[in-house]
Symmetry: C2
Subunit: 286 residues, 2 copies
């Protein structure tokens, strides 16, 4: 076996969606309405050209755009947009010399090296899928990602790199925050996956880490879709389950209830995928 | 999206293991003892170099050997050996000009073009994993696949191609039978997947086709492991379920019972994977 970085990123996407229970997300035992397990399998396969590009030398923004393009397919489905936003720079960091244990410094260097053209491709990616995002601050309306490639002239005028664009959203989007702060929760998730002991199956460890992530901070995708009160309710219920030792039946019940209520902590799933990728790079997993 | 033949083969492996219920096999809701869902996800990823080789111009036997090598990993696990034995020639057939609807004639031509060296690589693949096979006829003991690469001198002496080697086993192994007879059950499964109507999710259609396949003939993997009486019992129970309109709860109960009894119709799963691949080549699926 000679697994490549792109292979590991695809496997991280598959393990993320297969882990169960992952409260509110599509998992091995749960579909969401209109968003089924098999779309995630197909998304992991179809993101490959972009992930291979991320492992190569071409522009990082183009790697993300290609990964999203593949994942979204003709029906513009958004299954793994957020996962790919984390995986693409991590794959790039893992494939830069010198080879060694993938670290936050490695991915910080990748973020710092991004260009205005990378940012333009990031905006183009929003033309490809429907992504739930909120309005930007009033001083950045011309950079609203919902405008997609129409925002590129404003972007060029301001001369912002992809790293700088994401910094604009770091206070209200935890994926952007990862980019700005050296992927702290992604690396934390990887550490938990390593610490949870290699005797438990990886999918069980992944589900445990999902609960930890969910309990740790408000899920910014839930905040956008349902407001901070609902997000805090979800976080608090995860924290209670964790404090109680994560009794399996109670976690399953909460997972069922979240799916029934349409409360989908997508950011948490994205962070888990990133953590799984880092752990796979470090030799954890199947 | 620009899915390649290797992408589709990987997706077929993923959809096969995700389809549920698939009586007696690992599926979205069931693991076997010592054989977990995540190993199949990893096997689908790690088979890629061999599947890409199959889509290229190199020797077909080498493609199979590489696919098995990747899939098996360091722990020599055999999750998808049989699936790969069907997928490799199908991928080769799908990528030969002229491009068109993949047909039995295309894959017959691939089988007829195999060489003695392809057969040697097939034997080498048995060094990599533990595969359940029974003793060969007494006039072919020197060609027992269980001897692995040790059988290669006898193979060369007899001058048998891979197609001819598989023909020796076609009366007691339904995967070998596929090779000899133009993949009739694989193409039949694909036709059922297409006919089942594109409105049902692909994983539901795949589970329905699994039941059809299981009801159609004795599973030769079950015959090898438990004898023909147990295999006939399994076939008959699948046929009864099918005649009753496949009531979901009854199928789930039978699936649970087969897993509990350790009766694993591996050949049927392999045929389903091949059928899914052909269907994906023909535009069915996610």
């Amino acid at each position: 076996m000679s697994r490549t970085a792109a292979d590991r990123a695809q496997l991280a996407l598959l393990l993320e969606v297969a882990a169960t229970p992952t409260i509110g997300n599509v998992d091995r035992h749960r579909d969401l309405e209109g968003l089924h397990f098999e779309r995630f399998l197909a998304g992991a396969i179809d993101a490959r050209p972009g992930l291979e590009h991320a492992a190569g030398d071409g522009p990082l923004g183009r790697a993300f755009l290609r990964a999203v393009d593949g994942m979204a397919g003709e029906d513009r489905e958004n299954t793994q947009f957020g996962c790919l936003l984390l995986l693409v720079p991590l794959v790039r960091a893992a494939t830069r010399p010198p080879a060694g244990r993938l670290s936050p410094a490695d991915v910080r260097a990748v973020v710092e090296a991004t260009t205005v053209e990378d940012a333009a491709d990031f905006y183009r990616a929003f033309d490809r899928v429907d992504v739930a995002v909120e309005a930007p601050p009033t001083d950045a309306e011309d950079l609203d990602v919902r405008r997609g490639s129409a925002a590129i002239p404003a972007l060029r005028e301001r001369g912002l790199t992809l790293g700088e664009v994401l910094a604009l959203g770091a206070d209200r989007d935890d994926l952007a925050r990862e980019w700005v702060e050296g992927f702290p929760r992604s690396f934390g998730a990887a550490q938990s996956l390593e610490a949870a002991g290699s005797s438990a199956p990886i999918l069980e460890r992944a589900a445990a880490v999902h609960l930890e992530l969910l309990a740790g901070r408000l899920d910014t995708h839930v905040v956008r879709q349902h407001g901070p009160a609902v997000a805090e309710e979800l976080r608090a219920s995860a924290a209670r389950l964790l404090a109680d030792g994560a009794p399996p039946e109670a976690v399953e019940r909460t997972a069922d209830a979240s799916v029934a209520d349409g409360i989908n902590p997508g950011t948490t799933a994205d962070l888990l995928a990133a953590g799984l990728y880092i752990a796979l790079e470090r030799g954890v997993g199947p």
